[in-house]
């Protein structure tokens, strides 16, 4: 949708989570998590493995039922929504899964086009063209469209997954580990891609990542999650000044320091 429309939304959050509790059996995943994502920002969740980042993402996109609390996306409560009620909401967001989750029996172009074919009345040639455009937007070569997912490298698969996630020009994009498993060159390509998607298409992006470089380069605000609770929310610079030992370890460990220094050099 248009940027103008997005600006009019500016007062209220795109994603608003209040007092969320999640459990897997007896294991508590989230304890009273609250956060909000503003329109047009790149919001990132960070934290150690198994701290519940991806689970939080899955709860927001209705793949997982939380125990209690509230999750509002575009001002609408998603917990307990029926499939029918969820559909209009689902069309407004795109999701890129950690391992791509491309449909393996379809080519990349069909993967992207399928979403459009399902939800719009566009003609087949136009769908093919727009799918090719989306594939080009993610920086894949044109001949990648005719290939099957198992013929692509890991980095290309991620880009193809991103092309599918933006097939319907969503207003909100969820990225689960967009750079995990990529070489530094491909990863920095993804950095640029994420930024340009936000700048040109005006998307709101919510991502889960471990990648400190990606965080320094793209994220407007970051929430640090640990043991199911939010330790702090803020820009990377704000977080790096926080006193919490875990946050400090995260940002001032050897890798954190290197990434931070590089980010400052760039500025």
């Amino acid at each position: 949708m248009s940027t103008a429309k997005r600006v009019s939304l500016a007062s209220d959050a795109v994603v608003e989570i209040r007092d969320l509790h999640t459990r897997f059996g007896k294991a508590v995943v989230h304890e009273s998590v609250s956060l909000s994502v503003r329109p047009g920002e790149i919001f990132s969740l960070v934290g150690g493995s198994g701290c519940g980042k991806s689970t939080l993402l899955r709860a927001i996109i209705m793949l997982l039922q939380p125990v209690s609390g509230s999750i509002r996306v575009f001002g609408r409560e998603v917990i307990g929504l029926s499939e029918e009620e969820a559909l209009p909401l689902r069309r407004r967001w795109g999701v890129m899964f950690e391992r791509g989750a491309l449909f393996s029996s379809l080519t990349v172009a069909e993967n992207v086009g399928m979403v459009m074919r399902e939800h719009t009345q566009l003609s087949k040639p136009l769908i093919d063209e727009v799918a090719a455009l989306k594939i080009a937007l993610t920086g894949l070569p044109a001949d990648a469209g005719a290939k099957y997912p198992n013929e692509l490298s890991g980095g290309m698969r991620k880009r193809a997954a991103l092309a599918r996630a933006i097939a319907l020009d969503p207003e909100l994009l969820f990225l689960d580990e967009p750079t995990a498993g990529l070489d530094p060159l491909s990863a920095s390509g993804i950095d640029e891609l994420v930024k340009s998607l936000r700048d040109v298409l005006g998307l709101t992006i919510m991502m889960v990542t471990h990648d400190l470089d990606l965080l320094w380069r793209t994220a407007d605000r970051v929430a640090v999650l640990d043991k199911g609770q939010i330790l702090g929310v803020g820009s990377m610079t704000e977080l790096s000044r926080m006193d919490h030992p875990l946050v400090r370890e995260y940002f001032y460990g050897p890798r954190g320091r290197a990434a931070r220094e590089q980010a400052w050099k760039k500025k």
Partner: protein
Amino acid sequence: MTARQVAQLQTETDTTSVPASTMVRCSGAWTVRGVAPVEARLATLVSAAAGEWVIDVSAVSALDTAGAWLLHRTKRALEQRGATVRIEGLRSEFSTLLQLITARAAVAEPVAPPKVSLLARIGLQTWHSLLNLSGMLAFVGESAMVFLRSIAQPRRIRWRPIFHNIQTAGFEALPITGLLSFLMGVVIAYQGADQLRRFGANIFIADLVGLAMLRELSPLLTAIIVAGRSGSAYAAQIGTMKISEEIDALRTVGIGPQELLVQPKIIALVITLPLLTVYADVAGVFGGMIMANAMLGISFNVFLDRLDDALRLSSFLTGVIKAPVFAVIIAIIGCFQGFQVSGSADSVGRQTTVSVVQSIFLVIVADALFSIVFNWLNL
């Protein structure tokens, strides 16, 4: 959908000026969900291209990549037909989007998958079949080599997976094999009873049921059940492992996938299938016995006495001897098809189907061959 959510289009042509100029006024939401109505109209507009064109987009409320692409595509098509095109009233945020699209358009051509002619397809199919056949032979050879090697070094035999496979392919198949075999015995006795009664040859029901079950039906029935239950499971398991690169991982840590995955299955099935067949023999004869009692009034004692006369050891052995051969066929086909899986989830399904079809087919072919051989040997 309200009027504001769809794209709209108005055209005015000024024929008095030279060259003729056309004004296209766009309004509404030019988004992936809204542009469908104007797509066809733009295409007809383009076919009448000439002179000067002005596309006014100042009233467009929303523009996304699909809408921008449509604009770009229309402009490009008009220009290719010799018209001059100007886009007016573009808001700044839309213009960055349009620029991006224009920049990417050069590389954004849909690539059609290459077309293959009928002749080429036939050739390809034949080639694949031949490859498949030679792959199969190589697989059988490799299995034999692994087997010989483990006879030389019995320590390398992996007992745990063998016992596990005996349990899943054998023990857990007892209820279904028993039930189906029992019903088969009932059906044969039921069909035979009527015929035999007409000749007053009631007692021969024991011969009919005993010979049919022991020599033919229970080995075949058991093999078909196991091919459907376990052969398919082998193909699916190995296929999924191949997709998730577990097979490659096994190779890298120095464990031969043949040794860990294939050989235990073959050994387990060669042990299990004869046992299941004997079990099926008993269940089938029991079914026939009950039916003979119910329909012909032959008591169990009389039936068993007659059975003792009717059956020789060779009748039993000719049935059971087939089972290990069937077992090898089922296990090898299932595992081989599993290794043939490549890439997609689709492929797992396809190869699993192929494994069941092929192994049942080959089991029946082998059974026919056995009949011919036994006939020669007068068994």
